[in-house]
Amino acid sequence: MADQDLPLRVLNLGTIPYAEAFDLQKKLVEDVACGASANTLLVCQHPAVITYGRRCSHAHILVPKEEIIRRGIELYQTDRGGDVTYHGPGQAVFYPIFDLKKLGQDLHHYMRMLEEAIVTPLREHFGLNAYRKKGLTGVWVGPYKVGFIGIAVKKWVAYHGMSLNVGVDPASFSLIRPCGLDVKVASINDFFSDEVRLETICDMIVQRMAHVFQLEATGGSRQW
């Protein structure tokens, strides 16, 4: 059971290189673990990067490394769970650095809560048929996967997190087998004629996360 009054510090980082955000997460994990920092939610976008976990099958990266580099996309091995994924412009990325000792100490339940933080705003505010698939992690709209989750936990503090395609170049995902699955990938803007602003969705998801985890959000917004 979460405490009602735990604060949630929200930091909007704008566009930040993956490695820089990763370093910040690792520092925050230590701070949150020792109580020097409140639970913190980083919200950002990344320049184009393909990331993969330690146990990723390299067969899921469908083009040679040289070709990926030639396209100006970075490759980065990381320590989160899951296989291979893509981050880039038009994708909202959320890194909750949360102390799970106060949120149930349950890895799968935590990921279901992250999914809910995406699903509910998409359904209630945008009228999309967003849903979770039993046995799979992530968020779908119709047959398309739009939300991706991969976490790591150290000292029972969670880091890494989730990403949502808002207006991503679809060609980017053709370079990989996202999450090691044969899935169709889409962005929220594919379902609307008028563009949905990324910061609008981010604000909704931040609010929903605070609600889901019973935290009180603090922190200013920033122009993307």
Partner: protein, 91 residues
């Protein structure tokens, strides 16, 4: 000897895969340091060293799927000699 077990990771999680050992057998570890990373679904979890000492035996290797509560490794704990203890024992 202190035994290191795979801890409870949540309701319904019965197994995890050993993804990465941060240290090799025989290496010195300090209490709380990263020992082994395990993975389940889309999550990784770092099991810390429960004490300082020497990693004497790894019983679950990278790629192995192990059940919650399984033995992962054994650490030979550092022995701390209290001041004056040796003299007292030798007297």
């Amino acid at each position: 000897m202190v035994k290191v077990y795979l801890p409870e990771l949540g309701e319904g999680i019965t197994k995890a895969t050993i993804s990465y050992w941060y240290v090799e057998e025989g290496a010195t570890v300090t209490e709380g340091s990263e020992l082994v990373e395990v993975s389940t679904d889309k999550a990784t979890f770092n099991v810390p060293a429960p004490c300082s000492g020497s990693l004497k035996g790894i019983t679950a290797h990278e790629g192995d799927v192990v059940e919650i509560g399984s033995l992962l490794a054994v650490i030979e704990e550092d022995t701390v000699t209290e001041p004056g203890e040796e003299e007292a024992e030798g007297a």
